[in-house]
């Protein structure tokens, strides 16, 4: 199982939800025209029905509250936390227990959306902050936690301020950080680098030099799982940041679609095109997947020398190629681009994941009490033991207990020292913009649109 820690866009197939619609057309009742009429709507219908839960909703009597969580490997930390909370004094005084509802990753966002529009909505919901919760916030479905945090010493001082802020909307907090930080890091294969006497790049010129040497040695410079568009997105996120600084995307995130016209975006797109034309990702990247383990395997086996990926790449490699992860996996920051204004310390990725509380919850006290547990040292220790880097302020002293303290400290310092942490674009903007944006990015990478066409298509996204 790939631990892609909470990527909504991981692109796993959604399984059997809408699955039977096409098969259904073969049920042998073809002679009826009316049945034929129904066929078109069947897909919508089956998907819609599949998502209708039957749980008791928020406020559905008793003190039990439902917490929806992204169901990947990391969920065991939340499972333990729930069990601990349900036995705690805090649970008793709030007269409530928590029931964890684990939803398989790829289905998470659609299932959450459907549930939030129904009477069986969760009381507490896992999310990515920013654009991922804007629709719920606008529909007044979330409790504003700003005052709760300000008035509670544990919550107020418990988390890195930058991480709390990254999940906020319009300066108000709607979420409590509950998982590790997931910055995007440039990983490299130490043995390949040693064999060809290379040093991790710190500037774009160095990177191009490395690419040339690797190609001469018939090694693909970068692994890229282009079948999952969010892997391609990471390249643009960093390039735009290094070329034009974090302000460029900040404007876009603020709703200014014309900011896509910033020269930095065009330059980033042109740089991407150069990389592709140059063969930096190899010739088959558009059918390589990250989610099914393709890109990580290409990287671990030395067919590709580097891999730009979220910090979860480490645990993915640890699961699939443990000796590679322990001995030959190197990491560094994304290089600077000559003439660019972005600070090399800037980071993109997912600061962390958050718990938010449904405004319709029947037991707000229990929900808040449960959220407070995320600031506890026990919770942070569980995250560290799982290989994650907590975003709590006490994390630094816990990192020695990590399975890989060196990598843990690198990540922690990277985020702690970052002047800006840009939230993954697809999480930062609304879904109705993120979806066409990802399509346009994919078109740029597969050569279906030129950098200038890419920019003008993005400017149309409103």
């Amino acid at each position: 199982m790939e631990s892609i820690n909470g990527r909504s866009t991981s692109g796993q197939p959604t399984g059997a939800g809408p699955g039977r619609s096409a098969g259904g057309s073969l049920s042998g009742r073809a002679f009826s025209r009316r049945w034929v009429l129904g066929a078109g709507a069947t897909t919508l219908l089956t998907t819609g029905l599949a998502a209708c839960g039957s749980d008791d909703g928020p406020g559905g009597g008793g003190g039990t509250i439902d917490a929806f969580v992204y169901g990947d490997d990391a969920v065991k930390v939340q499972q333990t936390a729930v069990e601990r909370f349900n036995k705690s004094a805090a649970s008793k005084s709030a007269k409530g227990t928590v029931k964890l509802v684990k939803i398989p990753g790829a289905d998470y966002t659609s299932k959450l959306r459907t549930a939030m529009g129904s009477p069986s909505a969760p009381d507490v919901l896992f999310n990515w902050g920013g654009g991922s919760i804007r629709a719920y916030q606008e529909a007044k479905q979330l409790i504003d936690l700003t005052d709760t945090i300000a008035g509670d010493p544990v919550l107020k001082s418990g988390f890195l301020p930058a991480v709390l802020a990254a999940g906020a909307l319009g300066g108000r907090n709607y979420g409590i950080p509950m998982r590790g930080m997931q910055p995007v890091i440039l990983f490299y294969n130490k043995s390949v680098f040693a064999e060809h006497k290379l040093q991790p790049p710190t500037t774009w010129a160095e990177l191009q030099d490395i690419n040339a040497k690797l190609k001469k040695a018939k090694i693909t410079p970068f692994a890229l799982g282009g079948a999952d568009t969010w892997t391609e997105l990471m390249w643009l996120e960093y390039l735009v940041d290094r070329i034009g600084g974090p302000e460029v995307f900040a404007k876009i995130q603020g709703g200014d679609a014309s900011a896509w016209g910033d020269p930095a975006v065009l330059k980033a797109a042109e740089t991407v095109k150069e990389l592709i034309d140059d063969g930096a990702f190899g010739s088959k990247f558009s059918s390589v997947s990250y989610v099914n383990g393709g890109a990580p395997a290409v990287f671990a086996k030395g067919k590709a020398a580097m891999h730009l990926m979220g910090s979860w790449e480490y645990s993915t490699q640890l699961g699939k190629f443990p000796s590679f992860a322990k001995n030959n996996l190197g990491w560094c920051a994304f290089p600077t681009v000559e003439g660019g204004t972005g600070d090399v310390r800037n980071v993109v990725g997912n600061p962390t994941n958050y718990w938010s509380v449904n405004a319709r919850t029947g037991n707000k006290d229990a929900a808040i009490a449960f959220l407070k547990d995320c600031a506890s040292e026990t919770y942070a220790k569980a995250l560290v033991a799982n290989g994650d880097i907590p975003t709590t302020s006490n994390a630094a002293k816990l990192l020695d207990a990590s399975p890989n303290p060196e990598f843990a400290k690198f990540q922690y310092e990277m985020v702690e020292k970052a002047p800006a942490f840009t939230l993954s674009w697809d999480q930062a903007v609304d879904a109705d913009i993120a979806t066409p944006m990802l399509t346009e990015i994919n078109k740029l990478f597969v050569g279906k649109s030129s950098p200038s066409e890419f920019v003008s298509a993005l400017k149309e996204l409103k």
Binding site: P13, T14, G15, A16, P18, G19, S21, A22, G23, S25, L26, R29, A30, S32, R33, R34, W35, V36, L37, G38, A39, G40, A41, T42, T43, L44, L45, T47, G48, S110, R113, T114, M116, G117, A135, Y136, A139, Q141, G226, A227, T229, S283, K284, F285, S286, S287, V288, S289, N292, G294, A297, V298, K303, D432, T435, T439, N442, K443, V446, K448
Partner: protein
Amino acid sequence: MSAPTPTKAPVGSPVGERGGPELPRGPRKRSGAATAGRPHAVWALPGVLFFAFFAVVPMGLAFYLSFTSWDGLGDPTPVGLDNWRKLINDDRMVQSLWLTVLLTAASWVFQTVIALLLGVWAAGRQRNRAVLSAIFFVPFLLSSTAIALLFYALLDPNFGIIQQNILGSSSGAFLAIVFVGGWQFIPFHTLIYQGGARQIPEVLYQAAAIDGAGRYRQFFSITLPQLRHTVTTSTVLMVVGSLTYFETVLILTKGGPGTDTAILPYLMYEAGFKSYDFGYASAIASFLVLVATGLSLILVRLTGFGGMRSTREGM
């Protein structure tokens, strides 16, 4: 549901409802035996209710939603014809419609040719026929999702059996979808053709053999014309199946590379469950219903299938 509705003869009507010429369809008189013991309309009730609840009602809702803007939260806001206007002006719709037509046509050619030949072969009396037919049928028993995942693994550019950039190239991805769909559904259509071919009277072939017709002549002059209605049945199923083809696209290509395999059902899914624009998704769904209905009506008309003329006239 093509059963003729029983005539509602008033109670005490002197003329019974059996065997009369009042059947709405079928220009030819049917024998009394065909209509004898036809059950009362009430018997259709469970089926009708099921159909109404799971097809007509959702379809109506989707049609209603197509005139609203709804993100899945709160209440839908009426927006009039906005979604339909967007549908007409959407460049992606044009491409998507073209891809859908292309996929339908390619699937039809691929599946019909193979299923027809296999079906006619399987209708024969060869010794290994039963065993092989049973094996051929296996793909249809598998779930579409499982099949798509299997082929996704097989087509992996680094670890699959064909290590080429298939799903990452426009034509490769399209052909892969046609192939995987064919692999799954050809067995089913083979079965239809097998049944159809079995019903062709042996005497026709005997007569042809006496007249000196070879195997090819027999196939084109007897088998194919006799299978006319079977072809229509299979074609309608294929066309409607292709129009609602979805999970294979979702798993193999997610509409990519770029938008080059984003057929209408996928576009609908993306609008609804990725962008949460349920109004627009419903407009696409309603449009799909119109297209599918129109196409199947045209098919039925063109082929004279609706008239249910026998293929054995004059025998």
